[in-house]
Amino acid sequence: MRVVIAEDNVLLSSGLELLLGRAGFQVAAVAVDAAGFLAAVREHRPDVTIVDVRLPPGFSDEGIRAALQARREFPGLPVLVLSQYVEQQYAAELLATSGGGLGYLLKDRVSRVDGFIDALRRVAGGGTAMDPEVIAALVQRAGDPIAALTPREREVLALMAQGLANDTIGQRLTITANAVHKHIGNIFAKLGLAVSDNGHRRVLAVLTYLNAAR
């Protein structure tokens, strides 16, 4: 699987290259700014991209804007955005682009290699990987409708919104995939969402719901 990385910090990008190489990914290009990233995407047509939010020259949100631009040019291009901090606002802007294949994670998560590689694979496969911090903030903000859920259902909701599959959620909570399935049915019923078993469409429905709810 070919990856294009946009990361200006050499220490981090070489770390990522090492980590991705060991996990069997092929790093096609490492760009150090937004323009370089867009050029590399056009040239290599990667299977998945990893983008740092802050890039030269302004070191503000160039990465987010480059990711949005790349997804406008190549609809559905899988993008995993990495950042030293997470903002709901950025998650919302990324989610507003159509199609799946989206990830937004704290850089901290990279150090949990298995989880990170799993997230990258999910994004590459058109799935979603949202940072637990983003989800926690969204769930907290959503307030009332979420309060109708049982604590267990809330746990399942949080993990599902991160983009995890049923069996992974089951492993995390040490319950069966079947129980997860049942919980999800209840959650969708309580939130008034149409049940959909298709992996990432389900996640997008939940995220869109959380994003809009107050």
């Binding site: 070191f59 949100d61 901090y85 903002e87 606002q89 901290d108």
Partner: protein
């Protein structure tokens, strides 16, 4: 309003005359004059502080250490001398203007009262003592009472409405002119105030630096030391024969977890120093993100918030963040408003909600934190939260232009 002002002026003239010995005491003279100056300013609609209750006195660590410098005291004393002199000279002016300009108002109000009583009750008076309208017209029957009474009331109300304001303004203007601060005094006051606030700002800023230092020293730095120690042991143990793989695994795992915790802490410290979203999006973008992420719907009205100094923008961001946290946690509000904009050299923030009010700073709400940060920039923070609501937090921050 102007009639009330004139009646007050008349009363004040009488009180000034009656209590003349008291008003010759410098402190009393200055107080009496200052009170009238404010009153006149209010009539002339000079800008005043917003009608919000003041903040409670500042905590001990914010008060000035020791006495003000000798020079500051001398400057202030000189300014006070000039003010006393003018206040004493103003006393006769106040007596004369108060009597001359206040009497017509008294006559006007008095005759309205006469008409109000005479119109329905003229018959209750003995014949020779029948009340007189229009100064000297006795009221013999209902016909006269019902024509002349309302006419007199109407005419005098018209006088109060259209004729009395100019003398009231004249009185106020004489008052402010006589009592106006000289430029020198104004500057002396300003210098005294700036000296005081600068000391407070330095104190508050120092406290902020110490907090950051403590967070980094006790948190992140301590963690890094612990991690380095574990890695050093692991490196050492790696060469052991036979190698204790369990120990190595534990040391590396603990190091890894320690680094993750250090990263989380560091992120918190960074956020508390300068929120990254501000660097990314500027104050307008950061406030938009903040209000969009709030648990209750927030209307955001932004004026000109471009080119706000970074330190001011950071405090503005914290203010809105803390205030909105309070709105979600304590107010029970259904919606909130955030307004931010510049007036002259200040950034003004106003966060209001339609909640239950009764916010109490002492019950550990984030308002103490807002005040601490606002003071560090020589700004003002005002909380208005009557029981039953609404709650309004107003913060003004000088931008140094």
């Amino acid at each position: 309003m102007t009639t009330r002002y004139l009646l007050g002026s008349l009363l004040s003239a009488v009180v000034t005359l009656a209590g003349l010995p008291v008003w010759l005491v410098p402190r009393a003279a200055r107080f009496w004059a200052a009170w009238h100056r404010d009153r006149a300013g209010w009539l002339l609609a000079e800008p005043r502080r917003p009608p919000f209750p003041a903040w409670p006195p500042s905590p001990a660590w914010l008060t000035l250490p020791g006495r003000p410098s000798l020079r500051a005291r001398i400057t202030r004393a000189r300014a006070a001398d000039g003010r006393t002199l003018r206040a004493v000279l103003w006393l006769p002016v106040n007596i004369v203007t108060g009597l001359v300009l206040g009497l017509p108002a008294l006559l006007c109000v008095g005759n309205i009262a006469v008409a109000v009583i005479a119109t329905p009750l003229w018959w209750a008076f003995p014949f020779e003592e029948r009340p007189r309208l229009f100064i000297d017209v006795p009221v013999p029957d209902w016909g006269t009472a019902l024509t002349l009474g309302p006419l007199q009331i109407g005419l005098l109300l018209a006088v109060a409405r259209w004729v009395l304001p100019p003398p009231a303004r004249l009185h106020a203007r004489i008052c402010t002119t006589v009592l106006a601060y000289e430029t020198k005094e104004r500057l002396a006051d300003r210098v005294a105030e700036l000296t005081r606030t600068r000391a407070e700002v330095l104190d508050a800023h120092g406290a902020e630096l110490r907090r950051i230092e403590r967070d980094l020293h006790d948190g992140t730095q301590a963690r890094l030391v612990a991690i380095a120690m574990r890695l050093a042991i692991a490196r050492d143990a790696f060469a052991d024969r036979p190698r204790d793989d369990d120990l190595l695994e534990r040391l590396i795992r603990e190091s890894h977890e320690g680094i993750e915790e250090a990263m989380t802490e560091l992120r918190e410290v960074i956020r508390s120093v300068y929120p990254p979203i501000l660097a990314d999006r500027g104050l307008d973008g950061a406030l938009a993100a903040l209000t969009a992420g709030c648990g209750v719907p927030v209307r955001l009205a932004l004026g000109d918030v471009q080119r706000i100094p970074a330190a001011v923008a950071a405090v503005a961001y914290f203010t809105v963040a803390e205030a909105l946290t309070n709105v979600t946690r304590h107010s029970g509000a259904g919606s909130a408003d955030v307004r931010a904009g510049r007036t002259a050299d200040r950034l003004v923030l106003m966060i209001s909600d339609d909640g239950t009010g009764g916010a109490d700073e002492r019950r550990g709400s984030g308002i103490a934190g807002i005040r601490r940060r606002v003071r560090a920039l020589d700004g003002t923070a005002v909380l208005d939260s009557p029981a039953g609501g609404p709650t309004v937090v107003t913060v003004e921050l000088p931008c140094g232009w």
